[in-house]
């Protein structure tokens, strides 16, 4: 019996460890351990008012603070019966697109690409792939700049409020974004070219179950219904039935299942379930790389992220143009009175569906909070594919599993907040 451990994976946002126990060619146990210290954010919220919630929940994650704060204000708006303006809807869409762009650029160019090109990091790639790295950074910057303009900064912005925004961007700021976004299109397209030219290993193949929000008529990242690849569709209020969270001792992220089956959320499920809603350059590029788009292989998530990056840049340009055409005007959040009640707000974060549930008292004070993150939903699915991968690699006689196994969680772009250790292997006993 031997234990294969990839301790504290590098280039993921958090403290994660892979642990696989192997006996001969049989996989006895697989664990994707998440050891991010518990912060009890839901408990921080209790007793505070709806006003503080978007600022607190953005602190859950530095890569996706925007989905957290928008899910939070949407939950409160449902509970209080608040309808926002068309301008606010467009600004929220743009804010989420900015987050998708910066997060996907970070993951594709700085975290995942070094794996496939055989480097420890993007900095070491500069000599040979300087253009790629610089274009990746430029793409990331465009997404971050969208967030800065809309929310005050790229991490933990402050303007997303229940009912709207505390500050409206100016025409000049939007024009600046327009030019920056247009320049960054090339970096998004290059990501599709890079990730479709890489030979993606096929060892993690196996039928998967997907979930994504139904974005309505157009591909997007906000919705009130969840689509399941079985063909079912549920209101987000049924989120508990869809996720079945369970605390497990080896992870501070709870584990999810749907009817007892692990499922996947994120770019791949979104592109698969909402493919018919893609358009423009993103759809063209998806059709060009169709033969590389293997939906049974979670490693395809990288390519799906690249397709989404193209979509997000293209759609951001459209949204900015629409805001300019309509004549952007300073607009305070709509007025409302808090009341007792409950609400579920859901958005698509870069890594998948994110749910926020709150119950309020009649002053708008939070009496109960429940937040279900995409990485928590994906954890059981990651373990499923680690097992499939380990079994297949062993049956092919592969001895050194670690670098291969590490590809699997990284493809999900797990958001467990950054880490500080070397990849190493512990063999408890030598293999039979």
């Amino acid at each position: 019996m031997r234990e294969i451990v990839v301790e504290h994976m590098a280039r993921v946002e958090g403290h994660g460890t892979i642990r696989v126990v192997v006996e001969g060619v049989v996989v006895k146990d697989v664990k994707f351990e998440i050891f991010e210290g518990p912060r009890f954010i839901e408990k921080v919220l209790v007793g505070r008012t709806f006003r503080e919630a978007p600022d607190i929940v953005s602190r859950i994650c530095s890569i996706c603070p925007d989905p957290h704060s928008i899910a939070s204000v949407r939950a409160a708006e449902k509970a209080f019966g608040v309808a926002v303006t068309e301008q606010t809807k467009l600004l929220r869409e743009l804010q989420l697109l900015g987050d998708i762009i910066s997060s996907h650029a970070l993951h594709l160019y700085l975290l995942a690409l070094p794996d496939f090109l055989g480097y420890p990091d993007a900095l070491s790639m500069l000599d040979k792939y300087g253009r790629e790295v610089k274009m990746g950074l430029q793409l990331k910057k465009a997404g971050n700049r969208v967030k800065e303009v809309l929310t005050g900064r790229s991490i933990h912005g402050c303007t997303a409020r229940v009912g709207g925004y505390s500050r409206t961007p100016t025409r000049e700021e939007l024009e600046e974004l327009l030019s920056l976004l247009k320049q960054s299109m090339e970096g998004a397209e290059l990501a599709v070219k890079l990730f479709s030219s890489i030979d993606v290993p096929d060892f993690p193949r196996g039928e998967n179950l997907f979930m994504a929000l139904d974005p309505g008529e157009r591909f997007g990242f906000i919705g009130d219904y969840v689509l399941v690849s079985t063909g079912e569709r549920y209101p987000v209020e049924d989120y508990k039935k869809l996720t079945n969270e369970l605390a497990v001792p080896h992870s501070t992220a709870k584990h999810s299942s749907y009817r007892g089956e692990p499922f996947m959320v994120g770019a791949l499920p979104r592109v698969v379930l909402n493919k018919g809603k893609l358009k423009g350059r993103a759809l063209e590029m998806l059709e060009e790389v169709e033969d590389k788009f293997d939906i049974a292989n979670p490693l395809t998530n990288n390519l799906a992220q690249a397709i989404e990056a193209v979509y997000a840049v293209e759609r951001s340009i459209e949204v900015v143009e629409e805001l300019l055409d309509r004549g952007i005007k300073p607009e305070a959040p709509v007025e409302f009175k808090p009341k007792s009640g409950e609400g579920v707000g859901a958005v698509e974060a870069p890594r998948g569906v994110l749910y926020h549930y709150y119950k309020f008292d009649d002053e708008g004070r939070i009496v109960e909070a429940d937040i279900i993150t995409p990485t928590a939903q994906n954890a059981a699915n990651i373990e499923k594919y680690l097992r499939i991968s380990a079994e297949r690699l062993l049956s092919r006689g592969v001895e050194r599993l670690e670098p291969m196994l590490e590809l699997v969680p990284r493809a999900y772009d797990p958001c467990i907040s950054c880490s500080a250790h070397l990849v190493k292997v512990i063999r408890l006993k030598s293999s039979n």
Binding site: H8, A10, R11, V12, E13, G14, H15, F35, E36, G37, P38, R39, F40, I41, E42, K43, V44, G47, T49, E52, D55, I56, R59, I60, C61, S62, I63, P65, L106, L110, P114, P120, D121, A122, L123, S124, L137, K140, K141, N144, T151, G152, S154, I155, H156, C158, T159, R161, S166, R167, A247, P249, T252, K254, S417, C418, S419, A420, H421, L422
Partner: protein, 257 residues
Amino acid sequence: MAGKVRVGFYSLTGCAGDLLSILNIEDRLLEIFEKVELVEFVMASSNVKPGGVDIAFVEGSVTTEKDLKALKEIRAKCDRLVALGDCAVWGGVQASLTGLDPRELMKSVYGTEQNLYGFLGEHKPLSEVVKVDLELPGCPIEQEEFIKAFVSLLRGDLPEVKDYPVCIECKIREVPCLVVEKGEACLGPITVGGCKARCPYHGVPCIGCRGPIKDEANVAGELLMLMEKGWKPLDAINRMKLFAARYKDLAKLVGRG
């Protein structure tokens, strides 16, 4: 030839936002890293070099036994230790739970009273555990402040520490006072400046994310001011506790001093 300054970036419990703020300095990132020998930055690189470091940048709060062990190891192998961001300087938003029963916390979020994750029972700033040479506040840190500090440290100096409130920066940017004009629960008066009053400028009150001005923030005065504006003491204290729960005067005020 003397070698380059050896630098390591480390992360304890938090959202990774301070290290990400550094990766977000897109325009100057490559230039910054060329000047040093990068010993460790696991979020960005799987290349980790052995040996000590001249400067260790640490983000996150000391929340788990693992954090505690890691921090002591970092302290032992570095010359200068820099705390990055509110979690490392004040314990982060999670430190607002200080004083609550850890078993009850586990039960409410994870459904079991068992301490599954080596939780220390509270979320501490680095300075409560080891000697810290410099603290860069903010949730997250300000990029400009980081670059200035980085350059000073490379020269062997320590940068000047800010000791004025956010209010000064509202005056400089000519932002109308949110407390006076609108009666909002703004924490600008007790919070250390350096953010160019970002939140008030964007139309929302300061939530105190840069932490209280060390040894000078008048939290009792802030409480009285907010009560005069009609805020319930509970809400006003909750607001201050979000980023300043481990500031001793506030701890006294809420009865834990």
